[in-house]
């Protein structure tokens, strides 16, 4: 990617945050600890950090939009010589939306569901300008055109739910830019979007930064976003700014070990795992899963949503097959179908050559020992009322392994140690663990019955990047040790190189392309794969 940033003259300072400190209102514990930075016109300043680092709190504090439980205890936010913290609430309302505007993570919930999007953008204009009537409407339509909403005249009267996720975020941007603010604060603006849409929205933000000489504060946890979009970057860790630099300097020479770790989470598209040639353990032949669409007086199924539409693939022993696709592509449904948790409408699922689709509950039991699963959300995949020990033991008991209690406990302890947890954790409850630890428990639970295949349904997407790497490393280690195969379902192509031997790309229920990891990532054939790949941020330019 060419880099026009160097040619831009460093803009004037539009917002100066100095010594900002935010504390919990009741305990006084500091969440943000005296941080300072400047936003300059025409520049994107990225504030990076993992969940709980205080980056979102910083952005809300700058707008004085903190929830009641938090309060600003020190510092100032200077915009054009006025300290925002010294203003009355009424004066602050004049600043918000006109001088400083903000866009949020989840556009669907950030837009008022019962107001048309046109009216919502118009409201900002009504608050801060004298525009009314037709002129107002024209202005909104112009804005919609500028942010790339198709059919702006018509979309004016749409409700948020009638727009796609990308379009909703574009409406948010139009709303934020309506009164031509100097500063734009974007809080994880693309996290909820699919990767291809993500790229488009980021490009839009970058273009607008240039064309309107905006000063942008971009809050994100994604180093790829930083790499592709930002001019300057600051790393936030436990409420403190630990490093601040220009993007190039930062990626080439990070000063802190933690920054290094964040950068390492970016994919290295140079090294791949060679595809092992083995006889297939699991084979899918033209698998189809349909959900009925019911209509009419008697609610008869008139048609089917083809969630999985004729997928064929094979996974060898000790091999990892990454199934990549965006939300709604049917990849998770396929995983559930293999587990016999979803009815298969057509095709065959062969495990070691034996068909297992649609077999009865008890006939399936022996296969349950061999095919296991790890889910995306570690918090909802553990019963909050059972101890970790009981959770791991559940499968062993139900599948009739390790029947004596001592044997079982010994096995639980062994498994916990294997996934780098302590044996004392067996007596604890899920809510006492972090997401990363819980995902380790989930791995231990799956391993408990000695499976040959584990279906990993987005096991790392709910985790912070630094933890993600650890969990992926653990999975790779276990594969080497036990020779277990993985069907790895993910939306994130960037984790594929370190993990997968083979890759399949799913779109709208169909497997559009499959092959070895190297083949797919270096020479993608299908345009959709190419689009996915183009959206993946990478270290080397």
């Amino acid at each position: 990617m060419s880099n026009p940033r160097q040619q831009q003259a460093a803009g004037s300072v539009c917002m100066r945050v100095s010594d900002l400190t935010v504390v919990l209102a009741d305990s006084g514990e500091a969440i943000v600890k005296g941080i300072s930075f400047e936003l300059k016109a025409g520049r994107i300043f990225a504030l990076v950090g993992e969940s709980g680092s205080g980056k979102s709190v910083t952005s809300l504090a700058a707008m004085r939009l903190l929830p009641d439980a938090l309060k600003i205890s020190a510092g100032s936010v200077d915009v054009e010589g006025t300290d925002l913290f010294a203003l009355s609430e009424a004066r602050m309302q004049e600043i918000r939306g006109r001088k400083v505007a903000m866009i949020f993570q989840n556009a669907m919930s950030a837009l008022n569901p019962v107001q048309t999007v046109g009216a919502q953008v118009a409201e900002t204009l009504k608050l801060h300008t004298a525009l009314r009537g037709n002129a107002l409407r024209q202005r909104v339509v112009t804005l919609f055109t500028e942010v790339g909403i198709p059919d702006p005249e018509q979309r004016f009267g749409f409700f948020p739910h009638q727009l796609s996720g990308g379009q909703q975020q574009r409406v948010m941007i139009a709303m934020a830019l309506a009164c031509e603010p100097d500063v734009l604060i974007a809080d994880e603006p693309t996290t909820a979007l699919d990767v291809t849409i993500q790229l488009q929205v980021l490009n839009l933000i970058r273009e607008l930064t240039r064309s309107r000489q905006l000063a942008v504060l971009l809050i994100t946890h994604d180093m790829g976003v930083v790499r592709n979009t930002a001019d300057e970057v600051a790393v936030m860790y436990r409420g403190e700014l630990i490093e601040q630099a220009s993007v190039d300097a930062f990626f080439h020479n990070p000063q802190q070990a933690y920054s290094r770790k964040l950068i390492d989470s970016l994919p290295d598209l140079g090294h791949f795992r060679a595809s092992a040639v083995e006889e297939p353990l699991l084979e899918l032949r033209d698998v189809q899963v349909h959900f009925p669409i019911r209509k009419g007086l008697l609610q008869r199924a008139v048609d089917y949503t083809r969630a999985v539409d004729g997928v064929s693939l094979a996974i060898g022993r000790g091999e990892t097959f990454a199934l990549v696709g965006e939300s709604g592509s049917g990849k998770s449904t396929l995983g559930r179908a293999i587990l016999n948790l979803e009815d298969i409408a057509g095709g065959e699922v062969l495990f070691r050559g034996e068909p297992i689709q649609g077999i009865g509950r008890s006939a399936m039991l022996p296969y349950r020992k061999q095919i296991q699963v790890i889910f995306q959300n570690p918090f909802s995949s553990m019963n909050p009322r059972m101890t970790v020990g009981d959770i791991i033991a559940e499968g062993m008991i139900s599948l009739g392994l390790a029947l004596s209690e001592e044997a079982r406990n010994a096995r639980i302890h062994e498994l916990l140690e294997r996934v780098q947890l302590g044996t004392e954790h067996a007596r604890r409850y899920p809510h006492e663990f972090s997401g990363g630890q819980l995902q380790r428990v989930a791995i231990a639970r799956a391993l408990a019955v000695n499976p040959e295949l584990i279906i990993c349904d987005e096991p790392t997407s709910a985790l912070d990047v630094s933890i993600r790497a650890e969990v992926l490393e653990l999975l790779a280690e276990l594969q080497r040790e036990f020779g277990v195969s993985y069907l790895f379902i993910t939306h994130d192509l960037s984790i594929v190189p370190t993990l997968a031997h083979k890759v399949g790309v799913m779109q709208l229920g169909k497997l559009v392309e499959q092959g070895s990891a190297e083949q797919i990532l270096t020479a993608p054939q299908h345009p959709y794969t190419q689009a996915l790949l183009a959206a993946v941020p990478r270290l080397e330019d």
Partner: protein, 325 residues
């Protein structure tokens, strides 16, 4: 939409059949017509002939479900079940145990009921929303906490005390309106003010507290933060963003009650002597007139099902996200 309503109406049929079977079982199987005759006649006059007479007079001298003596369709129609239950579907309510025509009674009595229930309903919702909005404006302050405590306290007072208290203060001590009664001609409003007032006041505690929760739930939504980031004032946010969204659950929560307003209120009507369906039911219960009770159960069920359908329709009307299918 049309197909949806038709389907809901069809679904109402098995429910009404269920209601009828249940009431029929309660009234005729648990207690046989003989038992009813004994309890209606009183212990003194119980002779087999008297029982037979009573049964014949009131139409209980047929078999329950199947009449073996009759021929053809009459085997089914010449039964108590057909007489007392199936006819309800044709809105033929028959006669009460005391010989009055139930259908015409219902037709005349529903208007006084409505005259009390409808204003109570509308004014009540308005008052509750206003009170809740005022409290929400002071959210997080001592005033808010005090108001919530007051709501809970108001909820903890029995409805009976609201009525008794209202009659004692407004009608007896201050002599502003008559204690009870209802004259259709002339100054009806004089008789309506107190029952409506009592109904509204009694509902404030629970209503305003519920609406407050709904408002606060909406106030925690992301779009409220967006509105703030736009520069909206708190009042604008409350009235332009929170209120329209919170009205959806409020509306759909109360719409189910609208058809049932015809049924009136048992307590209000009996205390204030209003000749509506509420007092009709109460009199029927007290005189153990099961024919009336049965008819009212049937009417009540129909109105409730109607309310459910109206609720669904109101959803599509109030919430752009909802489409019926």
């Amino acid at each position: 939409m049309f197909a949806y309503i038709v389907r809901r109406l069809l679904y109402a049929i098995p429910i009404l059949i269920g209601v009828n079977l249940l009431t029929f079982t309660l009234f005729f199987v648990v207690n046989s017509p003989d038992d009813m005759a004994v309890s209606q006649l009183g212990d003194k006059y119980v002779t087999p002939e008297a029982i037979e007479n009573w049964k014949q007079k009131n139409g209980y001298d047929k078999p329950l479900f199947l009449n073996p003596d009759a021929a053809g369709a009459a085997r089914l129609t010449e039964t108590i079940f057909f007489d007392k239950s199936v006819r309800l579907f044709a809105f033929d309510f028959g006669r009460s145990e005391s010989g009055r025509d139930i259908t015409s009674d219902v037709a005349t009595r529903m208007w006084p009921s409505l005259a009390v229930a409808l204003p109570t309903f509308i004014v009540g919702i308005g008052v509750n929303i206003c009170v809740a909005l005022m409290v929400v404006m002071f959210h997080g302050t001592r005033l808010d906490r005090g108001a919530v405590f007051l709501f809970v306290a108001l909820m903890s007072i029995s409805y009976l005390f609201y009525i008794i208290g209202g009659q004692f203060l407004v009608a007896k001590t201050w002599r502003l309106v008559p204690i009870s009664g209802f004259h259709a001609e002339g100054q009806v409003w004089k008789f309506l003010i107190l029952p409506v007032l009592v109904g509204v006041v009694a509902g404030i505690g629970a209503g305003a507290r519920w609406y407050r929760t709904l408002f606060l739930e909406e106030a925690n939504q992301d779009y409220v933060r967006t509105a703030r980031a736009k520069g909206c004032s708190e009042l604008t946010i409350l009235f332009r963003h929170i209120l329209p969204n919170a009205l959806i659950p409020i509306l759909t929560g109360v719409v189910v009650l609208i058809p049932s307003l015809f049924m009136g209120s048992l307590l209000i009507e009996s205390f204030f002597g209003i000749p509506g369906l509420g007092s009709y039911m109460l009199d029927a219960i007290n005189s153990q007139d099961f024919a009336i009770v049965r008819s009212m159960v049937f009417i009540g069920s129909i109105l409730y099902i109607l309310g459910l359908i109206l609720t669904d329709i109101s959803y599509t009307w109030a919430d752009p996200r909802v489409r019926l299918s």
